[in-house]
Amino acid sequence: MPHGEICRAKVLIYSRYGRLLDNQADSPQTMIAIEHLSKRYQEIVALDDLTLQISAGEIFGLLGPNGAGKTTLIKILTGLARPTRGSAKIAGLDVVRQPLEVKKLIGVSPQEINLDKELTAYENLLIYGKLHQVPDLQNRIQSLLETGDLTERAHNRVREFSGGMQRRLLMLRAIMSRPRVLFLDEPTVGLDPQVRHQLWDLITQFKADGITVLLTTHYIEEAEILCDRVGILNRGHLIALDTPQDLKARAGGYTVESLKNGRRHYELVQDREEAQRRALADPQGVIVRRVNLEDVFLKLTGESLAGKREA
């Protein structure tokens, strides 16, 4: 089989939820390979038997409510947490057995803004660059500050920056060492739409530069716009995995949203005519819209991504 076909080869397996999981076969282009990964915190199962491959150059989105296991997975892959069972490899290197080699390949933008707020933007980048032994450091810092439109604020303390500027700096710091894999944990949380769009442009640029990106998000729109593939995590289980388009198509083309007895009801239907028929039949009026990933999650789990049980 030619190399390209090997890369495209897909193994379709059924999860315990009985839904199709689209699991790429381990190929020469697999950048992140996770095998039967579990993480327990005493009685709490944060991740349960997770198997997943992410290809080089892909933007992969992890969706799920709080406590689904998204951040735990990132912590394991970046050396902050040890798995209870299973293995994870980045570019063929085991994250537990070869942590220093793995850390040379990765950049992390965590959910919490963990910049040193008493230091300046320049100092934050300088220290991170020295930690990662970045060559030609001064030029790299200048170039990153220009990319993030922060040159004029380089010597201001980070605590004086807006939330959006801090997030931007956090992301620039993450790519300081020219990583092959970038982990973005809720990169746009709490930001206004304009700043969010600026960061999306930056993430798209990372992909153009050939960086593999694993991002977690609560924002459906973010996952749909940015991600080549999306995995949906719920209570430590991967319950769906595919491109956003295919996940939505599989769930149904349209969502019929109605209000009954003070509660929202969602019905996913395949074609537009059927959706219109239901809309006309409901005397209280309904909203008909295209299916989004929130609807997919709702269909799979009966809960919204915010964690509220829905009808």
Binding site: L80, L100, I127, L131
Partner: protein, 245 residues
């Protein structure tokens, strides 16, 4: 071992806080207050081993001040950085060894400990308190800072909250400061307490700062400080290496 960026970060943050009231009070004013309260209050009435009390007290305050500052800054910084600001996680996610992380923290702790001693050292020289500032004195002072900075890493890595760090300070560091011969000779204590106190590292620092002479007793005390330092550093490296959230 790429420890310098960790050291640099800690020192940069330290310089930002250097002129804050909290730091000035804890690092400089507290030992000076002890010196004024005990030195001037008791100094005129009390003689120890035929010398003035002020001459006895000053090396003890130098040891205490360096211990408290080296320990507190490292333990608090690590606890806050790990549990609240998540800045410690940047080190763990970087391609640096556990030994480099520990050494960067400890080296910064040494600098803080030495700086807090500096004002007392200068004062001692100005008032002519008979401080013998030779190589053994400086070596003992640096070792004292090192071992308590390493202890700060251990406590900072084990603390589950900021309270844990403060509790360790209240129940171990501060009692040690008072009972290890800082303010009065340990020979004035009951023999059982003398045995316990002679196992504490600060007792040996106090002895070395008062008697910086290369004799057998000094070498034994130096050996104790070195042993404590080695154990503290190893424990710190193991805790950082096994760090997992």
């Amino acid at each position: 071992m790429n420890w310098y960026p960790i050291f640099l970060r800690e020192i940069l943050i330290f310089t930002r806080r250097l002129l804050r009231l909290g730091y000035v009070v804890s690092a400089f004013l507290m030992p000076l207050l002890y010196l004024l309260a005990f030195g001037l209050g008791l100094g005129r009435r009390v003689n120890i081993s035929g010398g003035s009390y002020l001459n006895y007290l000053l090396p003890g305050l130098i040891a205490m001040s360096s211990m408290v500052n080296a320990y507190t800054w490292v333990a608090n910084g690590l606890t806050m950085g790990r549990l609240y600001f998540q800045t410690f996680q940047v080190y763990v996610q970087a391609p640096v060894s556990a030994a480099a992380i520990v050494w960067g923290q400890v080296a910064a702790g040494i600098v803080r400990g030495l700086l807090s001693s500096l004002i007392l050292l200068v004062l001692g020289l100005v008032i002519g308190s008979g401080l013998n500032l030779n190589l053994l004195f400086l070596l003992s002072l640096v070792l004292n800072c090192l071992l308590f900075a390493a202890l700060g890493v251990v406590v900072g890595m084990r603390s589950k909250s900021h309270e844990d760090t403060a509790n360790f300070s209240n129940f171990f560091i501060m009692p040690m400061a008072f009972f290890s011969g800082t303010f009065f000779p340990i020979t004035q204590m009951p023999w059982v307490l003398q045995i316990i106190v002679s196992c504490l590292p600060l007792t040996h620092t106090n002895y070395l700062l008062r008697n910086p002479v290369w004799d057998l007793k000094a070498l034994a005390s130096l050996g104790v400080l070195l042993a404590y330092s080695a154990v503290g550093l190893m424990l710190a490296v193991v805790l950082v290496r096994n760090y997992s959230e």
